[in-house]
Symmetry: C2
């Protein structure tokens, strides 16, 4: 196994740039951290280019594997307590399928990386066909998003797209699009379960933009205690996905 | 309005100690931050002792209000971008009611502060009668827990207690206790909606301890895609609370 001991190594410096969206966009690569995520990526059809580890042996990994010092690991890690393994992966771009089918989750400006990641994780669990990130969402390849997905991003298409275009395409395919809104909306428990639908969720503070709600087939809300002002958007996503699908 | 300009002021130094659990436990006080939380506390029956603000005027607040410098605010704040208002509150201890009634959420060693806070927020929205934190949970008065509750902790009893004792008391009151487990459990969608129940959720990595699952009335799980390993615990709490109650 090759080794890199110095944080000044050119490859290490190049990989460190993947901490920023700019670096990821320019190279089409991103980092993942921790044994669990590396394993999930590796089991999937995503391309894992290089594994970097502080362990003595990582011979099980079929691709390039490099032993690194603790100092190098600290440099590449984006967590307080590095887990001793990081991998460089190639981004994958999902193209909108010709024929839309199944359940989708559309996100309008969901900014918190933990929310975006958790919603992707929940969408996979709920057998969704895909998640669509509209503009203004946290970057899919942000370390916190990836961590919150718990690897789900390797098993479910996540599209970046214009939400108006998506809403129109879904409706044309006969898939109802349900916006979420506290106004002019129907309680979600009045909907029957269905095989196909798209759920449109919005920004943590502002919700879904009104022109998107107008484009939706219908808008719904979750009845709740009056003292509660709202639900966390990833919790709402879970409640709605599982209620509408079952 | 009084003013404190120096971070070396004795009261500021004392309040700063509320950042730690030890400091909060010793004094029975805790800090909240941001206009929204201060307002929620103030509207509730919790005791807000002192409000500290960088604003020139805070005359609307009826209690002690102190103007502070940016440097003092930075010292008291636990966020990267201080919001200019912090308040010192008195802890409130909830005593187990004589007669248990309604819906409860029991947490076994849920460690992530964001999860504990989000579950309290969701429990309020789902009209729960209370949340019970067993030992090993994140401290209720931790700043991240409070932030994630979005103020719900001021509107819903949150008990600290022994979960075995709680499970027995709930069962004696005729309230079924549903553990969550991936083994020996029934799919949650096979349960009818009910007015009263308790939901038992566990640690992010390990789930609910087996002696607690054994004590539960019945255990349930959420059917999910096989590629998904699990759901985030606060998402699971939301799905189950809203599915079982409606």
């Amino acid at each position: 196994m090759k080794r890199i001991e110095s944080v000044k190594n050119e490859r290490i410096k190049a990989w460190k740039k993947l901490h920023s969206k700019k670096g990821r966009d320019q190279t089409g690569r991103f980092l993942i951290e921790g044994e669990h995520l590396v394993e999930e990526a590796w089991k999937s059809d995503w391309k894992v280019e290089t594994v970097l580890t502080t362990a003595d042996d990582a011979s099980l990994f079929p691709g390039e594997c490099i032993g690194v010092s603790e100092a190098v690991m600290k440099e590449l890690s984006e967590t307080k307590s590095p887990q001793g393994i990081v991998a460089v992966c190639q981004k994958k771009q999902w193209h909108t399928p010709e024929r839309l089918k199944g359940r989708f989750v559309l996100l309008d400006r969901v900014q918190d990386p933990g929310n975006v990641g958790t919603i992707i994780r929940t969408a996979l669990a709920a057998d969704a066909a895909g998640v669509v990130l509209g503009s203004g969402c946290a970057d899919l390849f942000n370390a916190k998003v990836i961590r919150a997905t718990q690897g789900a991003l390797f098993h479910l298409p996540v599209y970046m797209g214009d939400l108006v275009t998506w809403i129109e395409a879904l409706k044309e395919s006969g898939i109802p699009v349900y916006g979420t809104s506290l106004q002019d909306a129907t309680p979600h428990d009045q909907f029957h379960s269905q095989e196909q639908f798209a759920l449109l969720l919005g920004n943590e503070g502002e919700g879904v933009q009104s022109h998107l709600l107008d484009a939706a087939t219908e808008n719904l809300f979750i009845r709740q205690n009056r003292k509660a002002e709202s639900l966390n958007v990833s919790v709402a996503a879970g409640i709605l996905l599982f209620a509408l699908k079952s």
